[in-house]
Amino acid sequence: MISPFREKLRKALLAFFGILFFLFLFGPFYWMVATSMMTEQEMLSVPPKLFPSEPTLQNYGIILGIGDAETLKEARNRAPAVFEIRPALINSMMIGVLVAIANLLIATPAAYAFARLRFNFSLSLLMIYIATRMVPPIMLVVPMFLIVRTVGLIDTPLALIITYTVFTVPFSIWLLQSYFRSMPAELEDAALIDGCSRWQSVRHVLLPLAVPGLTCVAILSFMGSWSEFLFAVVFTKTTASRTLPVVAASFVDTSSIQFDYVMTAGVITALPPFLLALIFQRFIVGGLSAGAVKG
């Protein structure tokens, strides 16, 4: 029997560390959002301000090219790169979506084969796929750069789409195969008997049931490519292919740091994954845990 006092103490300590941990995680994020809504003077004031006194979306406007000529001109003087954010946003979106689609198209049939067919070394093969993900990306960046340069894809979105697809597909296959495995094979048998061809049984029974797993794979591969920095910074040069993380980082140079723009770009970079996770968290957790239990 725990005494009431010790019970209270336990709760208080738990609450204390809970709050501490929350601040630790949430603090930087808050600071980023708050700074992105401040003017330059306010941001640089001493002592630093915790809240923007007059929250403004001006920085967001500038990035999207909205605002009066005066403001835009001033922004151009401070950091010309600010106008690269919009094309970078479009690049990042396009790359992320195409990587997600490529993952679905490649990983779904592969995972189905792994889940349903018995063939020699299927588990070993799956292990090798996953093992490729254990190689630190930094080891691959130079050889990959040479390949990309040789085939003439430097500074094209295609280079990043291919690279990210290669890196995300193994995990997607792993995740989907364990998802498919968790669905009774009798469902497809029943569909075959009910008059489906193999393809129809996949289309009418397997895929509708796999929607949570497919969503999970799409989102995870989108997020994986969305925030990737190393390969993006090496493979890209101009607005033709630069992605958001690269452009956001470019505000930090040796002579000056435009914190407000960095923070604004940061918020824009963080927003899509955040929203996706928020909307689809049920699918993501479900998809991952199906993998965890059955994999």
């Binding site: 009774p184 469902l187 008997i193 009910d194 008059g195």
Partner: protein, 353 residues
């Protein structure tokens, strides 16, 4: 409706043989139960009939058409799975109508047929529900509904009642049998439960380790089991099996070393052989003189009392009495088999003598 013929069907998975040449002739409209311990290949055989498993060698014909290479959807069969395999993302009505939808029937016809099947199975109130909103028994019914909606030539059932509780199982047993009497569709039913087999089948196929041990009507198997496997598999509680030697005389008898069991009418040619005597529990009666035994356990079931008795050296036999004898553990009794109710098997081959 159609007859089903299985001729010397073999199945191997990789190098592992599972079925070793199975032949069964199932007549049109017959209710045949494949029964056997789990792992003996019943499901494999059923799935071969359904077209879900490749036939390694041999031939399966439905009607007069050999279907070895015919895909499941063209075999005109319906199957009920042990886990029901209801489509979780479809309502009961959609589940039941799925096959008709796939065959491109008009919507009005699908609705009408689903409704008719639902009324046969008392499923009308649940048509709009999803499988997860149903109880186990209701799901089982939907699985049957999905099969009967199509009016196929053959029904295949793979242990459809295993996931139900005992009471519901007995009830569904009756319902399935009734349904068969009503529709008259050829039915192949797989179970590991010999009581299900006995109560439902027109004919039972007893399987063991990928071979057929015996095919026959329920009472035929019960009264004249072809070998020791069938003898001990069919009937509950199981038949008592005692080893001994057949001795001649006026009335031939089996000497088990502890008891002498008269076997009137045993073939004289078998005298001197090592044999196994089988006596069903209900064939044993209390007697003045017979096999001396000591009562070990008394199990009243209500309809009868089961008495497990030690006939010496730790060999137990079970007797079932309809009369409510007052027997206590430790009591000495004498048991005698009813005349003519003794089964004799060759000890080595297990085959009935």
């Amino acid at each position: 409706m159609a007859a089903v013929t299985i001729r010397k069907a073999h199945k191997t998975y990789g190098a592992t043989p599972v079925l070793h040449g199975v032949s069964i002739d199932i007549e049109d409209g017959e209710f045949v139960v494949l029964v056997g311990p789990s792992g003996c290949g019943k499901s494999t055989l059923l799935r071969m009939i359904a077209g879900l498993e490749h036939i390694t060698t041999g031939e399966i014909a439905i009607g007069d058409k050999v279907v070895n290479t015919v895909p499941p959807k063209e075999r005109d069969i319906a199957m009920v799975f042990q886990n029901y395999a209801l489509y979780p993302h479809m309502t009961v009505a959609q589940n039941m109508g799925f096959a008709l939808r796939m065959s491109g029937r008009p919507k009005a016809e699908i609705d009408a047929r689903v409704r008719r099947a639902a009324s046969i199975l008392a499923l009308e109130p649940y048509l709009a529900r999803y499988p997860k909103q149903l109880s186990g028994g209701q799901r089982q019914r939907v699985a049957m509904g999905r099969a009967i909606v199509r009016d196929p030539s053959v029904f295949l059932f793979d242990e459809p009642l295993s996931n139900l509780d005992a009471k519901l199982r007995v009830q569904m047993r009756t319902e399935i049998k009734e349904l068969h009497q009503r529709l008259g569709t050829t039915t192949i039913y797989v179970t590991h439960d010999q009581i299900e087999a006995m109560t439902m089948a027109d004919r039972i196929v007893v399987m063991h380790d990928g071979v057929i041990e015996q095919i026959g009507a329920p009472l035929e198997l019960y009264d004249t089991p072809a070998n020791t496997f069938v003898a001990s598999f069919i009937g509950s509680p199981a038949m008592n099996m005692l080893k001994g030697t057949l001795k001649g005389g006026d009335i031939p008898f089996v000497d088990t070393g502890k008891a002498q069991i008269p076997v009137p009418g045993a073939a004289a040619a078998a005298v001197g052989r090592a044999v196994t005597v089988g006596i069903r529990p209900e064939s044993l009666e209390l007697a003045e003189n017979g096999i001396a035994a000591t009562v070990v356990v008394v199990e009243p079931t209500g309809a009868e009392i089961l008495v497990v008795a030690d006939i010496g050296g730790g060999t137990y036999v079970t007797a079932a009495f309809h009369q409510r004898y007052a027997l206590r553990p430790g009591a000495p009794i004498h048991l005698a088999p009813a005349p003519g109710q003794v089964h004799l098997f060759d000890d080595e081959t297990g085959i009935r003598l």
